[in-house]
């Protein structure tokens, strides 16, 4: 009798074990660490849209929002790695060191860090989007649509990502309209609707009739709508917030990448890499063009979009000079990724100094 019991006990254990293994191989769990709240309707919101795409593809996901870029991040990452997550996306630049540190302790968990450059362990990959390609398109539209030749630009913080955007935007705008002037106001915030609106209002009061933004909220496009000037949506399609003002939006589209990477973990094909995708790979998406844009401009923008996607046109094609007139990129050459990643000087034509 108790031989039977032991045998059935052992066999059920074996059965349980195999079942468990099978379950683990199938059920890949993905975790996302966010800097802001998912309710910011900007950066974090778009990452969360990506997470939902992973969920829709049949995987389990968890997320932790509002994680500070400090020792707290390490604690959160360790906790997520310990609780059976197979792949963890850390979606802010400041998580770079915590991600690499925790990755060392959990070699079987895959880590994906957004906008960083450190891949110290084979289980750490990095990814970012070439948003500057989108800004080339915005610059082209702004340079064509402006009547006052003053274009306003609300910037957040002086980091390469933002400087690159300002440069890409200004180069494109100057190409279609050499008389334009880009006025830049640094709001020193990623999102504070009140402050962003005040910054936009100051630019509009000073004659800007097209406003671009590198902050996250919809306050700027709403202010543009009120004042009767043009603007562009940031991170997501903001057309419904300001139907008359918004000419187009540059959307961050992380979903396809996230689904790809989680699937790769499920198939066992995940490997370390550095991804920097633009319009061509669909990570940067240009929303529908507003009908207020003349049809030849629309055609031009569509062609530019296709050329940027195919690589025929590069946002930073020489000759490009800095503000002092020094050559940055020679004629016929394009800026390499190293230069783009560390870009901390304005190109010629941008007014003012970068805050230090």
């Amino acid at each position: 009798m108790h031989k039977f019991l032991i045998r059935s006990f052992v066999s059920s254990l074996v059965l349980l074990f195999t079942l468990n293994v099978a379950a683990v191989a199938k059920d890949v769990k993905a975790a996302f660490v966010y800097i802001g709240p998912t309710g910011d309707h900007g950066w974090t919101y778009q990452h969360d849209v990506g997470r939902k795409a992973v969920e829709a593809a049949g995987f389990k996901t968890t997320y932790v929002e509002g994680v500070p870029e400090s020792a707290d991040a390490e604690r959160v990452l360790r906790q997520l790695a310990n609780s059976g997550h197979d792949i963890i996306f850390t979606t802010s630049f400041g998580y770079m060191n915590p991600t690499n540190k925790v990755a060392k302790e959990f070699p079987n968990v895959k880590f994906e860090h957004a906008t960083g450059y450190k891949r110290e362990h084979p289980n750490v990959a990095t990814y970012a989007a070439r948003f500057y390609e989108g800004r080339t398109i915005l610059g082209t539209i702004a340079g064509t649509m402006t009547k006052s030749n003053v274009i306003g630009y609300v910037a957040s913080f002086p980091i390469p990502e933002v400087i690159r955007g300002i440069n890409s935007f200004t180069l494109a705008a100057q190409k279609v309209n050499p008389n334009i002037k880009t006025k830049i106001v640094w709001a020193f915030t990623w999102y504070d609707p009140g402050k962003e609106a005040e910054a936009a209002k100051a630019l509009i009061d000073q004659g800007a009739d097209v406003i671009a933004q590198h902050t996250d909220s919809t306050a700027i496009v709403q202010m543009a709508e009120k004042a009767g000037v043009y603007a562009f949506g940031q991170a997501s399609d903001m057309d419904k917030f300001a139907p008359k003002a918004v000419l187009t939006s540059v959307e961050n589209n992380w979903g396809p990448y996230y689904v790809d990477r989680v699937k790769a973990v499920a198939n066992g094909t995940w490997s370390q890499k550095d991804t920097w995708h633009g319009i061509g790979d669909g990570m940067v998406v240009i929303s529908g063009l507003d009908s207020q844009m003349p049809s030849d401009l629309q055609a031009k923008v569509k062609k530019l979009q296709a050329d940027l996607a195919s690589g025929k046109v590069h946002s930073f094609t020489g000759p490009i000079y800095d503000q002092q007139g020094n050559l940055m990129v020679a004629e016929g050459k394009t800026a390499d990724d190293g230069m783009l990643a560390g870009m901390m000087t304005y190109v010629k034509g941008v007014e003012g100094d970068i805050p230090k």
């Binding site: 802001g36 709240p37 998912t38 309710g39 910011d40 309707h41 900007g42 919101y45 306003g152 006025k183 830049i184 106001v185 640094w186 709001a187 020193f188 915030t189 999102y191 504070d192 609707p193 009140g194 402050k195 962003e196 609106a197 005040e198 910054a199 209002k201 100051a202 630019l203 009061d205 000073q206 004659g207 800007a208 909220s217 919809t218 306050a219 709403q222 202010m223 997501s236 419904k240 917030f241 300001a242 007014e351 003012g352 100094d353 805050p355 230090k356």
Partner: protein, 310 residues
């Protein structure tokens, strides 16, 4: 850039628009503090007002319901504070801080379903007169009703405190609850009323942000304005008219620094960004030099619990 009078008018109008939530919240808190209650939950009450106003506007489609609903939400959340500090005699500072944390949390929870929805257009008054008088037109015309109310409020508050009997009772309760109580005044009732009024004004300040100033909901959208409103009350030495000046200075410095950047004035941006806070500190230092005046204008029982059986 040509500086013309209309441009100056536009700048002043922007400054006034940015001062509105500060004036509303500060004037509400001023009444609360004048009754001897220190409510540090201004930020929390504002954010509750912001989400309530926005949510009600989206759900009911009525701006009137939304504005009054936001004020009611401010009243409701401040009732919690009033119950804790007046009935259960808890510490004002700790309870106020808890109220702020609670407000930010619960507004985020309610707000989950309202992210990414555009707000409605709020009607403005006298828009037809916008180009009639140089300089003054943009300042005087084309604003929402809440804007006009906010600029009348400091004067109403001042009149209320100085010239009315109820105002006198509020001041008496704040300066000496014991004597007021001996005179037959129900201290608890007066303080309850002042706390709830403060809540209503903070709720309205929040609704102004989410419905009129930047019509949208995002988490934490008050962005610390509640704390500035609290500082303004001290800054004003509990004088409503000085709140008006303080709010204009504070809102003004932010807007003027943006204008200076756009013009291309070469002053470090970080310095300009810090300027409003620096000025607040400097003014506070200057004010507190005269300790006698501070003692005279501070409600003497501010932040102290009152219990009749004491």
């Amino acid at each position: 850039m040509i500086i013309d009078v209309n441009f100056v008018g536009l700048i002043i109008a922007s400054i006034m628009a940015s001062a509105v939530p500060l004036i509303l919240a500060s004037c509400g808190e001023l009444i609360t503090e004048r009754s001897g209650v220190l409510n540090l939950g201004v930020e929390g009450m504002m954010i509750i007002g912001a989400i309530s106003g926005f949510a009600l506007m989206t759900v009911t489609g009525s701006l009137i319901i939304a504005v009054f609903g936001a004020m009611l939400a401010g009243v409701l959340i401040s009732t919690i504070f009033a119950f804790l500090t007046q009935t259960l005699i808890t510490n004002h500072v700790a309870t106020g801080l808890a109220l702020t944390i609670f407000g930010i949390g619960i507004s985020a929870m309610i707000g989950k379903n309202f992210v990414g929805i555009p707000g409605k257009e709020f009607p403005v008054l006298f828009e037809g007169l916008k180009d009639t008088i140089p300089l003054l037109s943009p300042i005087l015309f084309g604003h929402s009703i809440v804007f006009y109310f906010a600029f009348a409020l400091p004067f109403i508050t001042s009149y209320f405190l100085k010239k009315t009997k109820v105002g006198l009772i509020v001041r008496a309760v704040g300066d000496s609850p014991e004597s007021a109580s001996n005179q037959g005044i129900n201290v608890k009732l007066v303080r309850y009323a002042c706390i709830l009024y403060g809540g209503a004004m903070c709720g309205l300040a929040g609704a102004y942000l989410s419905m009129i100033y930047t019509p949208q909901w995002i988490e934490n959208m008050t962005g610390g304005r509640g704390w500035i409103a609290l500082a303004l009350v001290v800054f004003s030495t509990w004088n409503p008219i000085k709140i008006l000046i303080g709010a204009m200075i504070f809102g003004g410095l932010t807007i003027i620094q943006f204008h200076m950047q756009a013009i291309g004035v070469r002053i470090p941006v970080q310095f300009l960004t810090a300027l409003p806070y620096l000025v607040t500190i400097i003014v506070l230092v200057v004010i507190s030099r005269d300790s006698r005046k501070i003692r005279l204008s501070t409600p003497s029982s501010l932040g102290k619990s009152f219990h009749k059986d004491n």
